[in-house]
Symmetry: C2
Subunit: 350 residues, 2 copies
Amino acid sequence: MAKASTTGIRPTIRMVAELAGVSTATVSYVLSGRRGDGGPGVSDPTAEKVKAAAERLGYRPNQAARAIRTGRTNTVILSLTMLSDPWSLSVIEAVQRAAVPLGITPMILGDADWVKVLGTHNADAVFVDAVRPDQRDALRQLAEHGTTLVVFDEEVKAEGFDVIRSIAGPGCRMAVEHLLHGHARIACLTPATAAGTSGGTRYRAYSEALADAGIPERDDYVGLFDGTSAGAYAAATRLLSLPDRPTAIYATTDYAAVSAINAAQRLGLAVGTDVDIIGVGNTVEGERMSPSLSTVGPVDFFDKLARVLLRRATGPAGTAATEQPGVLDFPWHLFVRESAPHRSAATRLY
Amino acid sequence: MAKASTTGIRPTIRMVAELAGVSTATVSYVLSGRRGDGGPGVSDPTAEKVKAAAERLGYRPNQAARAIRTGRTNTVILSLTMLSDPWSLSVIEAVQRAAVPLGITPMILGDADWVKVLGTHNADAVFVDAVRPDQRDALRQLAEHGTTLVVFDEEVKAEGFDVIRSIAGPGCRMAVEHLLHGHARIACLTPATAAGTSGGTRYRAYSEALADAGIPERDDYVGLFDGTSAGAYAAATRLLSLPDRPTAIYATTDYAAVSAINAAQRLGLAVGTDVDIIGVGNTVEGERMSPSLSTVGPVDFFDKLARVLLRRATGPAGTAATEQPGVLDFPWHLFVRESAPHRSAATRLY
DNA sequence: CTGTTAGCGCGTTCAT
DNA sequence: ATGAACGCGCTAACAG
């Protein structure tokens, strides 16, 4: 009874070949191979027969089987640790835009535990968004064993894989120094987990800039939160409710800054007048909101990131081919917008 | 010169076998096969040799090759169209929690275009979070051809795959009717794209509840936005700035409701007093924020969803085995919290 | 009881 | 346009 087509079984290239009355090789060539387009071709009538058969069976080539032979999966993996962070969404969008026209599918790995996964799952290239110190060895091993990596990290060395750095230090200094032009009571809003990671740099910029300006750092002006927007909101509310409240907040991420702006407004404070708020990262959200968010960050970051990743993904398999992998640095700029405008002598808050 | 180990080449089971001086079969049995555990075993010394060799080469089994033979990828795909929506994050978290202990990796597909991808990439199970009408045929075809699907949709029939519905209609009615107890001027905040999809149901509940209450629907009380939080914020601001401003807002998603609360506060309105706001979805964010968000939604939704998905993923390959796929309905509840409290006769706003 | 041989399942690709 | 080998890991059947 059960003839074919809807057996619940996935059609294979052999079924297509049989139905079309040709060999599997021919099917392969017609559907994806080098022939049939312009090369020493498959005859038109045959190609038609094959296409019709494939269509009728609903045939889709099996990526896994293809990958095993070609070494290419037409897939890139994005390992993103903070999916709720708009930064991650920007990465996804940019990569999506660049990948889809190339027939490459971006897959997102939302687990911080990329080490196990990347060892077994193959992708043409992998973007890794954060590297804990204890993961560095694993990273180098992955690269040695043929995984094509693009790593976003400020400290890791490029050993067999590309590193994208966007040296936050100087940029963050610019942010704090911008506030120092008009303020003396400057608070810092930063995730508690940022102690060891890249966030540490961003917090250090605050400490050092204050020290260099001769302003003592106050414990109660450091608002730690759990990494969520809601947590940032709560921490900002705490800061702005202090009896001797800060007149400016330096937030180590844009999304925290956005939360801080919401918190300030809820407390009836005019952002950009009563209190200045600056973020870090230069995300679109900050630019579009009202009042627009002053921030520091790289320019054109996400598109360039996507370009690097896809160049690697479409290049020859295994890293370190054609172009030697290296470090790509992004210069940071200061974007002065409404939430922390330029302060003249007349508008200084001290 | 290049000997082995760090050739940039991924080690195969054959290399391990050679280094250990055994056959590939033995390696396979030791590393993952049925023997060596409790069954008729591999001798301890041999097993040790193999493990040492694998360790030394940094061998990781190739998922693609394994999948082609076993039909299992130890992977589930989550196709999520609105990654910025906290709802998606809740899905990811719940599935993550349930999958990792089982050795299954969740991969996220951020593209609305799941049709092409799911045909070629295999996973043990796939969760699809939204189905456009023009995708329904493709959905049935995928299921027919062996893809194990769990679909979240209110309208699609369960034809060869599981459907999770969480019948929004009655729940949304409850939300609007809750507002009707204390208000006459009720606005609706909803994404513009919700016209044809499940959001349509949520909007319809508003129209119908108003009609049944004998309150004419006003065009200027329908705030359409682009689906982003920022867009929702802007639309809410518009609604609340009307000369004859609404005293209550029914938002068709929780995140839109959160934006509306922020917007109201920015305008100096006390939420829960001057204006009531209710959402849809019952997300954790809403529960935790301040003021806490009144909402309607299912109970324990995400964990149950994850359980269904993983039961399918770990069950026999191909859908419709063991248990016939079916429809899983979620009952909705009304959660009355601070942003839209109970209104007595004394506190009515009309 | 331990280990090996051989063949499978896919799509690709080189000779013929 | 084709037959057959190939790449990878799995596993039934077999040999010691």
